[in-house]
C-alpha cells in the first residue's frame, strides 16, 4: 500500500512538473506492458500464455510470438497484474522462481515506456512421454551431428594430409557465421549471404590461411607440436578479433530467426533445420564421393597415407593440401551458418563446439574422414540423448567424458587404424 501511495504521489508530482508534455501526450497515448520469453540459452519461447489482470479486475490472455515477445497495450493507467501460465512453457523449460508467477506493474502517465517484464526460465521436467522425448532428442542429435560432422570432416582431412591438429578450426565456423551475419546486416538475404560467406571463407580461411601461414611453416620445417601451439595462438587471436569487431552479444539473422516448428506426430522441427541439415548431408556425401572418385580426392588420400611417396609418384602435395584446406574451410563455414541460424551468432560459438568436434574426430579415429562422420553422428546423438539422464547443462560434459572412456578402451577410435596412435 505504501508503495502504491508513493507511486501515486510520484505520478502526481511528475504530472505537475511535466504538465505540458503530459497534457499533450495524454490524448490517445498508450503504454505497452511487454516481455520477451527466452529459455536459458536465449532461444525464444513461443506460445507462452500470460493472463493480464486489468485495474477493473477483468482478465485478458496474451501469448508470446515466434520471437518470444508478448505484449499488452495499456490504454488506462492503473495497476496491472501479469500472471504467467507455467503449463504453457515448452516441455523441458520451467520458471526459475516457480512461486513468483504473478508480477504487478503500475502504469501512470500513459505514453511512458515500461521496463521489460522478466520471467526467468531454466531447465524443467520433461512432460512428454519418455519415448517421444527420446525421439525428439534423437532428431536434434542428428542435426547437431551433421553440424559437427561438417566441421569434423575438414578437421580430419587437414589432420590427415598435414598432421596439424588444428585448434583454430572452430574459428573457421565462427568466420562463416559472422561474415554471413554482416552481409545479412547489409540487406542481403541470408541464403545468398550464406553462399557468399562460404565462398569468402574458402578463400580467406582456406586458401589464404594455408598459403600465407601453414605452407611457409611447413617449408621451414616447423614441428607438428609447434604448429599445434601456433594454431592455438591463432585461434585465440582470431576469436578475440571477432569479439573486438562484433561485440559479445548473441545475434540473430534477419530471416528465419523465430521460425515456427513443423509437427510430425510427437516430433517438432523447424523448416530451416530440415533444409540446412539436408544440404549438410549432401555436402558430406559430396565430400565422400570426392574422396573416393576424383583424382584430387584420391591424391589427398595418398598424401594422408605417405606424403613422400605421394610426392614421388607425381602428386603435387602442396596443391592437394591447399585444396583440402579450402574444402575444410568451406565446410566449416557452412556448419557455422547452420549454427548461427539455429542458435544465433556469437564470437565464442566456434570454440564452444570445438571440443565436441575433437571428440567426434577422436571417436571415429584421428585422420579418417569416414570415421569423423560416424564419430560426429554418435557425439551429436549422445549429447542430446544424454539429457534424458543428466541435467541439460552437463550434456557436453557427458560427451567429453565418453571421449575419455573411449580412449581408454579403443584408443584408435571406431574406424581408426592402430598404428596411428602409438
Amino acid at each position: 500500500m505504501a508503495r502504491w501511495l508513493r507511486n501515486a504521489v510520484m505520478a502526481l508530482l511528475l504530472s505537475v512538473i511535466f504538465v505540458p508534455t503530459t497534457m499533450a501526450s495524454a490524448e490517445g497515448e498508450t503504454s505497452t506492458i511487454f516481455g520477451v520469453m527466452v529459455d536459458k540459452d536465449g532461444n525464444p519461447l513461443q506460445g507462452v500464455e500470460f493472463t493480464i489482470t486489468l485495474p477493473d479486475t477483468s482478465e485478458t490472455i496474451v501469448t508470446s510470438d515466434a520471437t518470444g515477445r508478448w505484449e499488452y497495450v495499456v490504454t488506462v493507467s492503473g495497476s496491472y497484474q501479469v500472471t504467467i501460465n507455467p503449463d504453457s512453457l515448452p516441455s523441458g523449460v520451467a520458471l526459475t522462481e516457480p512461486d513468483r508467477v504473478t508480477k504487478s506493474v503500475i502504469v501512470f502517465g500513459l505514453g511512458n515506456a515500461l521496463p521489460e517484464m522478466k520471467f526467468l526460465t531454466g531447465d524443467g521436467p520433461e512432460r512428454a512421454s519418455t519415448f517421444d522425448v527420446a525421439m525428439q532428442l534423437a532428431l536434434d542429435g542428428l542435426i547437431l551431428g551433421v553440424t559437427i560432422g561438417l566441421a569434423a570432416v575438414g578437421l580430419s582431412l587437414i589432420f590427415g594430409t598435414t598432421g596439424l591438429t588444428n585448434f583454430a578450426h572452430g574459428e573457421l565456423m565462427t568466420l562463416g557465421a559472422m561474415v554471413a551475419y554482416f552481409l545479412n546486416q547489409l540487406g542481403i538475404h541470408i541464403i545468398p549471404a550464406a553462399l557468399l560467406s562460404v565462398g569468402l571463407s574458402v578463400v580467406l580461411g582456406g586458401f589464404i590461411q594455408d598459403r600465407y601461414l601453414w605452407k611457409p611453416l611447413r617449408k621451414r620445417g616447423t614441428g607438428l607440436i609447434a604448429m599445434l601451439v601456433v594454431s592455438i595462438g591463432l585461434g585465440l587471436a582470431v576469436r578475440y578479433v571477432f569479439l573486438y569487431i562484433f561485440g559479445g552479444d548473441k545475434m540473430q539473422y534477419q530471416q528465419y530467426s523465430g521460425q515456427a516448428g513443423l509437427q510430425f506426430g510427437p516430433l517438432s522441427i523447424t523448416p530451416k533445420s530440415i533444409v540446412s541439415a539436408a544440404i549438410g548431408v549432401l555436402l558430406i556425401a559430396a565430400t565422400v564421393a570426392w574422396l573416393l572418385k576424383s583424382a584430387m580426392g584420391k591424391a589427398s588420400r595418398a598424401v594422408a597415407d605417405n606424403p613422400a611417396l605421394a610426392s614421388a609418384s607425381g602428386i603435387d602435395v602442396e596443391k592437394v593440401i591447399s585444396t583440402v584446406w579450402m574444402l575444410g574451410a568451406g565446410l566449416a563455414a557452412y556448419a557455422g551458418v547452420i549454427m548461427g541460424m539455429n542458435q544465433g551468432v556469437q564470437f565464442i560459438m566456434g570454440s564452444d563446439i570445438l571440443l565436441l568436434i575433437f571428440a567426434a574426430v577422436t571417436l571415429g579415429g584421428l585422420g579418417t574422414a569416414y570415421g569423423a562422420i560416424v564419430g560426429s553422428l554418435i557425439v551429436g546423438l549422445f549429447v542430446q540423448l544424454s539429457t534424458l539422464f543428466i541435467p541439460t547443462e552437463l550434456k557436453y560434459v557427458g560427451a567429453l567424458f565418453v571421449l575419455i572412456v573411449i580412449l581408454l578402451v579403443r584408443p584408435q577410435g571406431i574406424l581408426g587404424r592402430k598404428e596411428r596412435i602409438g
Binding site: T165, L224, A226, L236, Y240, E393, V397, L400
Partner: protein, 331 residues
C-alpha cells in the same frame, strides 16, 4: 597520459599476484611440456581443482585451511592419475585433447546448477576462507611507493607467493639434475631409446604429470586465497593458453623460464592495456577505433599473436636453448 601511473600499474603486476599464479602454473607446465614433452592443455583444471578444494572444504565443511591445502594437493594428484592412466600410453596429441576436455569438464561441473550447493554455481565461492592465512600477516600497513603499491593482504600474499615460486624453482633445479631428471629429458628426446634402457616410461611420465599438477594446484591456492573467491570461468582454457605463452616466452625446459616469462608477460600485458586505457581517456585514440569494452579483448589478441610469433620465430623463448627443445620428438 600518466606514464607514472602506467609504470606503477605495470610493475605492480610484474611482481604481483597474477605473475606468481602464472609463474607457478608455468613451472608445472614446464615439467610437463618443457622437460617431459607432455602436451598438457588442461593446466587450468589443476588450478581449478586446487582452488575449489580449498574453498569448498573451508567454506562448506569448516575444515582448517592448512588441512584444505593438503587436500588440494591430494585432489590434484588424483586428477593427474585420472588424466594419465588413459592417455600417457598414447601419442602426444591425444593427451592434448583429453586434458583440454577434462579442464572444460571441471569448469562446467563447477559452474553447474546441479553442484551449486557445494561449488557455488556460476558465481563460484566467496567468503573469508583465507582468514587463517591472513591472520598471520605481519604487515599491517602494506606498501605504497611511487613504483609499487600493495594493500597489506596483497603484500603478504605476494611475499609468501614468491617464496613458493622460489621453492618450486629450487626443487625443479634439484630434480632435473638428478638421474630422474635425465630420464625425464630422455623421454622427451626419444621415448623408445629410454624404454630400451629398461626404464618404465609410463611411470616416469605419470610422475612428471603429478609433479607438474601439484605446482598447478599450488597456483590455484594462490589464485583462490589472493582473491578470497573462486570463480569457475577464471579457470577456462584461456588460462592454460596464457600459461603456455608465459612458458614459451621465458623459455621452456629452463629452470627460470617460467618465472622470467611470467614477470615480462604481466608487465607487458598491463602496460599495453593501461596505455590504451589512458590513451582513450585522453582522447588520443578515437572512439570508432577502440572503446572501453574492446580493450579487454586486445589482451587476448596480443597473447594469441605472441604465442604464434614466439612459436614460429623463437620457440626457445628468451632463455631457451633451441637444441635442447626438440619439441618434435614424438609427433
Amino acid at each position: 597520459m600518466d606514464f607514472i601511473f602506467i609504470f606503477q600499474q605495470s610493475i605492480s603486476a610484474a611482481v604481483g599476484v597474477n605473475a606468481i599464479i602464472f609463474a607457478l602454473a608455468a613451472i608445472g607446465l614446464n615439467m610437463h611440456f618443457g622437460y617431459t614433452g607432455l602436451l598438457n592443455f588442461g593446466q587450468a583444471g589443476f588450478l581449478a581443482v586446487g582452488a575449489y578444494t580449498v574453498a569448498t572444504l573451508v567454506v562448506s565443511f569448516d575444515v582448517s585451511l592448512w588441512l584444505a591445502f593438503l587436500a588440494g594437493i591430494g585432489t590434484s594428484i588424483i586428477l593427474a592419475l585420472l588424466l594419465g592412466i588413459p592417455t600417457l600410453r598414447l601419442r602426444a596429441d591425444y593427451l592434448a585433447i583429453v586434458t583440454i576436455a577434462t579442464s572444460e569438464i571441471i569448469r562446467q561441473v563447477a559452474r553447474s546448477v546441479t553442484m551449486r550447493e557445494y561449488l557455488g554455481g556460476s558465481d563460484g565461492i566467496t567468503g573469508k576462507f583465507g582468514a587463517e592465512f591472513f591472520d598471520l600477516n605481519p604487515f599491517p600497513n602494506g606498501l605504497d611507493t611511487p613504483l609499487i603499491r600493495f594493500t597489506p593482504n596483497d603484500l603478504w600474499v605476494v611475499l609468501v607467493g614468491w617464496t613458493l615460486v622460489a621453492l618450486f624453482v629450487f626443487l625443479n633445479w634439484v630434480i632435473m639434475r638428478s638421474p630422474w631428471g635425465r630420464v625425464i629429458k630422455g623421454i622427451r628426446e626419444d621415448e623408445d631409446a629410454v624404454r630400451s634402457l629398461g626404464k618404465n616410461v609410463y611411470l616416469y611420465k605419470m610422475q612428471s604429470l603429478i609433479l607438474g599438477g601439484i605446482a598447478g594446484s599450488v597456483a590455484g591456492f594462490v589464485y583462490a586465497i589472493s582473491r578470497q573467491s573462486v570463480q569457475p570461468d577464471n579457470y577456462s582454457t584461456a588460462l592454460t593458453f596464457f600459461a603456455y605463452a608465459v612458458l614459451i616466452l621465458g623459455g621452456a625446459a629452463r629452470v627460470f623460464g617460467p618465472v622470467v616469462g611470467s614477470v615480462i608477460f604481466w608487465f607487458l600485458l598491463v602496460f599495453i592495456e593501461q596505455f590504451f586505457r589512458q590513451g582513450m581517456s585522453a582522447n588520443l585514440i578515437p572512439d570508432w577505433l577502440m572503446n572501453n569494452n574492446q580493450v579487454g579483448s586486445v589482451r587476448f589478441i596480443l597473447v594469441g599473436v605472441a604465442l604464434m610469433l614466439l612459436m614460429i620465430y623463437r620457440p626457445q623463448g628468451i632463455f631457451g636453448d633451441k637444441k635442447e627443445l626438440a619439441l618434435n620428438a614424438r609427433a
